[in-house]
Each structure stands twice: as structure tokens, then as C-alpha cells.
Amino acid sequence: MSIKIIRGYPEYMRESIEVVEKTREKRLKESFPFMNLKEREEILKNFHPDYKKETKRPVKIGPNKDDLMPNEVADLLEAHPLMKPEDVDLSKVDFDVDILIIGGGGAGMTAALWANYTGAEAEDILIVQKLRLGDSNSIMSQGGVQAADKPNDSPTLHYLDVMGGGHFTNDANLARRLVLDGPMIIKWHEELGVMYDREPDGTMITIHGGGTCRKRMHSARDYTGLEIVRNLKDEILNRDIPILEFTSAVELLTDEYGQVAGAVLYNMETQEYHIARAKSTVLTTGGFGRLHIQEFPTTNHYGATADGVVLAYRVGAKLRDMDAVQYHPTGVAYPEQIVGLLVTEKVRGLGAQPVNRNGEQFVNPREPRDVESAALIRECYERGNYIETPTGMKGVWLDSPLIDMLHGEGTIAKELPAMLRQYKRFDIDMTKDPVLVFPTLHFQNGGLVINENAETTVAGLFAAGEVTGGTHGKNRLMGNSILDYSVFGRIAGITAAKHARKAKTGKLTLEHVTRYEKMLEEAGIKTSRKSPILLPEYRGEKVLSHALDIL
């Protein structure tokens, strides 16, 4: 069977595109009303994947015993350690440093730089990174970074948006820190050479994101994350901060005083273990997209396997909001090759509307992410107004040609080159045709409990970025993740450097691993599972796209 493809789309999908074209002029002038708080609650309860009870279970052991978590996360926490304490010799220290940073994405690199700025010598820092330096969700972030630096805006308004977006479940102290440090981070980026989009007089070009009351989204075309990360990376190299690439941390180390004191490292290529002793250990390992929670496809990079959460839980660090999974409303639903990849929220920020098969709007394009996702799922699965792809995936249109109609021809090419390129590779021209989308697994809203100083609940262990929870409560808004890793990465680096100056590390142990094994046994958990998993398993048919069956 072969399907006739016309300008990137199967013939039958073209029929629906024609309907969308017919309503476009009219829709251009229409704005779909925002939901009130009650309507938000209602749609989330009925249609957001997080609210499906059977996909979660209470964790049986550890500091968050009895908390509900997605099965995929609970599976990792209720699993045996990857290595046995007797596999390594703790008396032989391979790397003896002041600050060990586990994870070399945006948060880790920011932490390393600020530790160095505030007095830690480069050679006393060590970044370990599972893939290459900078390989992370940070580099894939497209749409932008929020910061309340315009005259009509204020950190107070930003705070309100952060709290409302998180349904008022956020840690208020962290949210406060996030918004107050925003403008300072933008300035630091400017000094690093980050090419934010600006007017000729230097004024930042800012737009709305879902759930924002002011236009405060700063971007660098739709390569914002790439632009920031490559500057950070170059700065790490210029400052000669030591990096171990293709090295995972497979277990944290503690000492006789119960503090975290480094990690057992694993060379992914030679499969050797190494011991790293550190006075301060910073976890910046990112999130869990590659666990494919509820079988969703994901926008996340190859290494997003929740390693940090697993490691920290074994030493007794407290987690929060691990039940809150962010599904980005607009993942690619077609073509099959790139299912699940991100269609940046900037596309909606610039005016593209989600539209059903009949060419009708059904939700405002700028609701908070979870609400927007729930509306897309409702449209497809309850109301049946979906377009089905040749492989059986359901989706709705995101009417991208509206952007050039609203802002002038060439806007997409200038503002969204990555998106344009992504579709062109598969013969789809998003300036002329809409693109087919469906929610995709995007972000770990919860994570390690931290305070304003980026300290976890365990001494000697600091954390920043997606591995942490609280800042965004149950739902993060667009543009607050770059800000999050920048603000708390910076703080983690400063705090870790300060801590290292006075900390004393005792005798290294892996007793917590033995204790954890005992907890597993006492809880009657019988399993052959091991964690952290380090990389997802895609060999053979597992690689065929994670198909969806939502309701």
C-alpha cells in the first residue's frame, strides 16, 4: 500500500487542510476566550494524563514513602543499585576535588562558572557528563526565557504568573528567587555574548508565552537554548574547568558523618568505575523524558533518564511533586520520523492557533501548558475532531501560516528557522500549511526538594535545574526552565563553593546503598530491575515510535 503524498502530506490530510484554509481569514480576527480557574481545574481533572489514577502508584520505600508517582518513576526507585559496594575500592580515590558537578547541561555549566567566579579554582571543580558537555534539554530549548525587565512588567507580576501557572502549589520562596534574579541573568548572558533578539536601539524583543500576563519571553530566534548553551560551553572550555565526558555517576558517596562526599563514576565507553571524592556535590542531571511516562513520545534529549533523582533518593534526599509530569501541548504528530519532537510554544506565542479537523478553534493558544494539553487531548479523544496519521496517531492542526499573515511575510523564516528547517526536511512548508500536533512528554515538574540556597535535604548535596522541584509547583510555564537552571545553577555554584571552603570530608562509604537494599527487602520488593538506567533501551522494535492510547 502506498499513500499519495502531496507537499509533505498524505492526500486525505490535504482535505482537512483545505477546510482549515477556508476558516483562516475569519479566525485571524477571532480570539478564543481564556478559561477561568474553575474551568482549568475541570479540564485538567478530566483530560490531563496526570489525573489518570491507574498510571501511578505509591512508592513503597524511602523519604517519600506512600507518595504517588508515575509507575515508571516508582520502578526506578524500587530497584536495585546498578553496582554493588564490593565492585569498587573506596580507599583508592581517582578524583579528589572540592566541587563535583554531576550533569553538564545548562544548570551544571552555570554552577561551574559561578563557583569559579566566586573563588573556586578551576582545577578544584569537576564536571561529569554522561554524553558530551552541553548535551541536555537546555540545548533543545527553543522558545525563550522569561525575565521581568520591561517597564510595563515587574517581578511581582512574573511571580503571580509563576504561581498561577503552577496552580499555587509552588514553593513561594523559590518562585520569588526565580523572578527577582531574572533580569540579572539576562545581563550576565549579554556579557557572555548571547545574541538575544533586540530592536535596533537595544530593547529586547519580547513576546507572550502560555500563562504570561506581560510579554517577557526573550529569545534568540528559535535556537535560544542552543545559543545560551554554546556560550556557556565555550566559557567552561576557556576557563579550563575539568570535564569528564561520557561518564555517569552511578551512585553518590557518603561519609561517616552522613554527608554526601562525591560519587562513584562510570566510564560509559571503557565500562570502568572511578571514585570521585568531593566536599560539595551538585546534582544537575535534568529530568525524566526518556522514561516515556504513559508511553508518550518525548521532546527530551537522549540522556533524560532521571538518574539524579534515583541517586539522591538512595542517600535519603526528599522529593516533591514527582507526580506532576509536563506534557508539552504541541509535539510533532506527523511526520512519523520526528513524532514527539517539539514544536516550540513560540509558534503559538507568535499567533498560530490550534485548530481541529473542521477548521475550528477550541482553546486559546496561550493557556498554561497543562491546560492547553488537556484541551488538545479532549478535542482528539472526547470530541473526536482529530486528524489521524497513517500510523494511527491522532492530532490537531497548529495553524502556522497565521504567523506571517499577522506579522508580515518572512516572520516565520526569521523567528522560527529551526521549526521551518525541521519540517522542510520532510517536505512540509509551515509558512503555507499547518502542522499536525499532539501533546508530548516534555518536563519533570517535580524533583529534589531544595531551599533558596540550592541545598537539598542532605548535607553536602546541592541541586539545580530540572532535577529539582518546587519552583514551578505542579506545572511550569514556558520560558521558566532556562531561567530556573540559570538562577538556581548560579546559586548552587556559589553555595557549593562556599560550602567547600569549610567542609571536611570523612571516610567514604556506600553504606546507604546497603541500607537501601535492606529497605527493598523489608518492603517485600522482589525485582530484577536496576537503576539508574543511564540510557534508554531502543534496540530492535522498541525504537518504533511510542504509540499512544490516551483514554
Binding site: L37, L131, R132, D135, N137, I139, M140, A147, D149, S154, T156, Y159, L160, M163, G164, F168, R176, P183, I186, K187, E190, L192, G193, V194, M195, Y196, R198, D201, G202, T203, H208, C213, K215, R221, Y223, L226, E235, L237, E269, H301, Y302, Q337, I338, L341, T391, G392, A418, Q422, R425, F426, L535, Y538, R539, G540, E541, V543, L544, S545, A547, D549
Partner: protein, 232 residues
């Protein structure tokens, strides 16, 4: 669950470093190699066309041409010969951005080989992002930071241009230096960012934020619901 039936799908033959595999048609090179049983450690990063980890050289059957692509963005074709280039041993000189400025000499100082460019355009042909690589190298050589930054902005540093250059230029690192200098020294600065930082440092917003932090849940929700939304 939607059924994926790979066996009902058409298969294509690919050759991974010369070894033959049959994989379902329509997969990207990355996914096809995984289907064939490879587990990436190197050669896979963001899997979305942003990180440049999966630079790949391939050749089609009955064609002498070597073609370049990102494995995560390229669909396999029948008879494709594939080799990944997951690392480029290119030079990256160290510099202190605070001590260098927008002078054309900066490229000759850190990347003197730039002067050897013979304008063969091989770099441009190698670019999986379809950038005008040779043009930005030439712009850098002329000291045109704006042009070099603009033309190279979408570069993902996959390294293929450097591997193809007959005069051993490292275009993507030159581009990075051009953009950093342009962003730092040439682009106009945002005054309003400075102004807001001063306001924050003076404690201007402390009280109003504290008030929100102490507000009851009901009144915070009310303030939120009533906040004015800036029009499009």
C-alpha cells in the same frame, strides 16, 4: 494501544559501516541503527536536530558522492551506506572574552589558518543546516562580525564543515568566536535590563512580593484572576 506492525511495512537495506541490515522504511538513520541493534553511547544527543552529536556521512548505491546529514533528521533510503562521525578533533583555542574586542585581527590571531581559505565552498556543501559556511568564514576574515554572526547563527557545531575543509579551517569555532564578540561588543545593550536590575537591588519589589507570599490562598487566586493581560 496503536499497533505498530513493522513486519507489514516495507523494508529497506542499509549498510552500517559496510554491514548490511534490513530495517523498516521511513525511519531516521538514528532509529534505523537502533532497530538494527546498535546502542548509542556516542553519536546520539538531543535527537531533535539541535546538538550536532549525530553528524553522519553516507553514500547512496550507484553514486560516488559522499553526502552529509544529521542521523536524527535523515530518513534511510534503500542501499544507503552509513558512517557516523561522532567527534571532530578540531582545535579550540582558549581566550578571555573580556580581553578581546571586535577587531578583524582576532581571527588571524586565534585561527590564522582562516587566511588559507580558497573559497572552494566545500564547507557549505557539507552543512546539514544548509548554512552559507564559506560566506561566513569570508565575512569573519573581512572583520564583518554582524554578517558572520547572522549567517552562522543556526550552526549546531556538528563538525562536518571542518572535516571537509581542504585547508583545515574550523568554520564552526570561528563562527562561535564571531558571534560571542558580536553579542558582547557590537549588539546594542538593553537599557531597560540595567534599570530593572537597579530597581530590584534597591528592594523596590520586596514588599509587594512579600504581600503576595503572605496572602491567603483565596485572595492570591483572586489577584491572579484579576491581573490585567497585556494585549497582543
Amino acid at each position: 494501544m496503536v499497533e505498530n506492525k513493522p513486519e507489514s511495512k516495507e523494508k529497506v537495506r542499509i549498510y552500517v559501516m559496510g554491514r548490511e541490515y534490513k530495517v523498516p522504511a521511513g525511519l531516521t538513520i538514528t532509529k534505523a541503527m537502533e532497530y538494527a541493534g546498535y546502542r548509542f553511547i556516542r553519536g546520539s544527543g538531543c535527537r531533535g536536530g539541535f546538538c550536532g552529536a549525530c553528524a553522519t556521512v553516507y553514500r547512496l548505491s550507484n553514486d560516488y558522492k559522499l553526502r552529509m546529514a544529521l542521523a536524527c533528521q535523515k530518513t534511510v533510503e534503500d542501499g544507503m551506506y552509513i558512517a557516523q562521525i561522532p567527534f571532530t578533533p578540531a582545535e579550540k583555542p582558549l581566550y578571555n572574552l573580556n580581553e578581546i574586542g571586535p577587531s578583524a585581527n582576532v581571527f588571524l590571531e586565534y585561527y590564522p589558518e582562516i587566511a588559507k581559505c580558497v573559497c572552494c565552498n566545500t564547507c557549505t556543501k557539507a552543512c546539514p543546516q544548509d548554512l552559507e559556511v564559506m560566506d561566513y568564514v569570508q565575512a569573519a576574515l573581512r572583520g564583518d562580525f554582524e554578517e558572520a554572526a547572522r549567517l552562522s547563527f543556526d550552526c549546531i557545531a556538528c563538525g562536518l564543515c571542518a572535516m571537509r575543509c581542504p585547508t583545515e579551517i574550523v568554520p564552526y569555532n570561528i563562527a562561535l568566536l564571531a558571534r560571542r564578540i558580536y553579542g558582547r561588543y557590537v549588539m546594542p545593550r538593553a537599557r531597560h535590563v540595567e534599570d530593572r536590575i537597579k530597581e530590584i537591588e534597591s528592594g523596590k519589589f520586596e514588599e509587594e512580593i512579600q504581600k503576595l507570599m503572605q496572602a491567603s490562598s483565596a485572595s492570591l487566586k483572586e489577584i491572579y484572576a484579576k491581573r490585567e493581560i497585556e494585549p497582543e
